[in-house]
């Protein structure tokens, strides 16, 4: 029998749905829901985590994220300007930094900052205790990524903007501050928000520095509770709390991208 093209496409689509549905059904029926919910969805274990899960762990996760983000943003801006500089050594230094820190795992950098710096400078310490070490340890890596994002943003501002500013008698620095950077940041807000989301999840590495009950963050908090209760429900709770931070941020990115698309 010869099928029309439209009919054939519809058959293929229906078959696709059917296979997908069957696969979902198999997983659902085959899974042992009783054991799964005993392990991951124990109400009493979950309730026992509050309010500390929010007042301490979630709070610290947000603080670590913001500290590292603003450290990384400031340093990233400096690196971006160095990469675009007309002075060759600046360009080299910035490129070397970016290539190095983009290539290293964040965990390793955090570890080096947490344990290497005290060894190198025995009489000094990074101010702010764990908060300071996290700021630098995660910020150094974030700076490398953000430098590239900001550089792209600056280059996306049309050359005529700088020329017009210089023509009005502004110095190069003044033109960058008043004219180019404000427009560059508008362009890079969506990718920078993505960077915050990545950083939020990277704060789960902070445990390598050894945290106290006061400086604990979500992942370590969940891990500790898992050990005492001998039940993995805390991991689910922590996961949900990460989503409490990241999902609204994703919405912000989407809204900003919609707005940018409208303005163009």
């Amino acid at each position: 029998m010869k099928l029309s093209r439209r009919r054939r496409q519809r058959l293929v689509r229906v078959a696709g749905y059917a296979v997908f549905l069957a696969a979902v059904l198999v997983v659902i029926t085959a899974a042992d829901w009783g054991r799964l919910s005993d392990a991951f969805f124990r109400g009493d274990v979950a309730r026992g985590m509050f309010p500390e899960a929010i007042t301490v762990a979630l709070r610290n996760t947000i603080i670590y994220t913001l500290l590292a983000f603003f450290f990384g943003l400031t340093m990233g801006l400096v690196l971006a300007l160095m990469r675009l500089s007309s002075i060759l050594p600046y360009r080299w230094a910035a490129t070397a930094y970016i290539e190095l820190f983009r290539g290293l795992p964040a965990l390793l950098v955090l570890f080096m900052v947490g344990y290497g710096v005290p060894l190198a400078f025995p009489d000094r310490e990074i101010p702010g205790g764990v908060y300071g070490s996290v700021t630098v340890g995660l910020g150094l890596t974030a700076a490398a990524y953000m430098a590239e994002t900001i550089r792209a943003g600056i280059q996306a501002v049309p050359k005529g903007q700088l020329e017009a500013a210089r023509t009005l008698g502004m110095s190069h620095t003044r033109a960058m501050i008043s004219i180019v950077l404000p427009q560059a940041f508008r362009i890079v807000i969506p990718p920078l928000t993505n960077e915050i989301i990545l950083l939020t999840k990277d704060t789960s590495l902070v445990y390598v520095l050894g945290v106290t009950p006061a400086t604990i963050e979500l992942t370590k908090f969940a891990g500790d509770t898992l050990n005492t209760k001998v039940n993995p429900t805390p991991l689910v709770v922590a996961g949900l709390l990460y989503l409490v931070i990241t999902l609204p941020l994703s919405q912000v990115v989407r809204a900003l991208e919609r707005r940018a698309a409208r303005e163009r």
């Binding site: 020329e163 009005l168 008698g169 404000p182």
Partner: protein
């Protein structure tokens, strides 16, 4: 003292020599229109005057100050030279009013009230006081270019440079920009204008300069250059620009079969 005095100006981009020895003077109050085919170096010449392009050799004096001298404070010189670009280059993140006040505030250090007063006066000059709160993206090309002119005028320039100010405009918007420029010329502003608007050059210019292949081929009052051009290259160019429908197949080397 001449407003602009250019002598033996050369400019190369890599191996390409765009300006090959330019001598040009612009006296105070003069409106000089530079015409010529694309790639003839007109825009480069204009951009050398305020050092947006660094000359390879030669001298440029603006109001007696040598702009190519490394000891010259170029920002200081640029304050006295307004420039209007083909692509307007309004600051997209600022309102029309802020576009006109920002350099007054940051460069001339005028106070907010004073800067706003000057902005309003200059927006009135170009007929756009009612758009002060708008953003550039909300304006037509013609309105944007008029704001760009107001922005330059707010710095009280002694000289205005126009780099093909109407070339990016839809045909029906060209007139409003030319009207503002004609008004400026009538007020006695010294202007150096790179343009393809031959009617404007013929009517407003005190002098027309024809450039081709990096040199000034001829210059003179518009009546002379347009009505009895001395050079063959000028005649050829004017023929193509002024009578585009009468350019023949043979002169462009086309062999159309019938």
């Amino acid at each position: 003292m001449s407003t602009i005095e250019i002598s033996d100006l050369h400019k190369s981009f890599g191996k390409l020599e765009v300006l090959r020895g330019i001598d040009l003077k612009v006296e105070p109050g003069e409106v000089v229109c530079v015409i010529g085919p694309s790639g003839s170096g007109k825009s480069t010449l204009l951009r050398c005057v305020n050092l947006l392009e660094e000359p390879t050799a030669g001298s440029i004096r603006v109001a007696g100050v040598e702009v190519t001298d490394p000891d010259t404070d170029i920002d200081e010189v640029r304050r006295g030279i307004g420039m209007v670009f083909q692509q307007f280059n309004l600051f997209g993140h600022l309102t029309v009013r802020e576009n006109v006040t920002i350099a007054q505030r940051r460069v001339l250090k005028r106070g907010r009230t004073e800067a706003n007063r000057v902005a309003t006066a200059n927006l009135d000059r170009v007929g756009l006081t009612d758009k002060a709160g708008s953003y550039p993206a909300q304006l037509s090309g013609g309105q944007q270019q008029r704001v760009a002119i107001a922005r330059a005028l707010a710095m009280d320039p002694k000289l205005m440079l126009f780099d093909e100010p109407t070339s990016a405009l839809d045909p029906e918007l060209v007139g409003e920009v030319l009207a503002v420029m004609r008004g400026l010329a009538a007020e006695g502003m010294t202007m150096l204008v790179v343009t393809h608007e031959m009617a404007f050059a013929r009517e407003v210019a005190s002098r027309v300069v024809f450039m081709d292949a990096g040199v000034i081929v001829e210059q003179g009052p518009p009546a002379e250059v347009f009505n009895k051009p001395r050079e063959a290259r000028t005649r050829e160019f004017l023929h193509r620009v002024l009578e585009p429908t009468r350019v023949s197949e043979t002169e462009i080397g086309a062999h159309l079969t019938d």
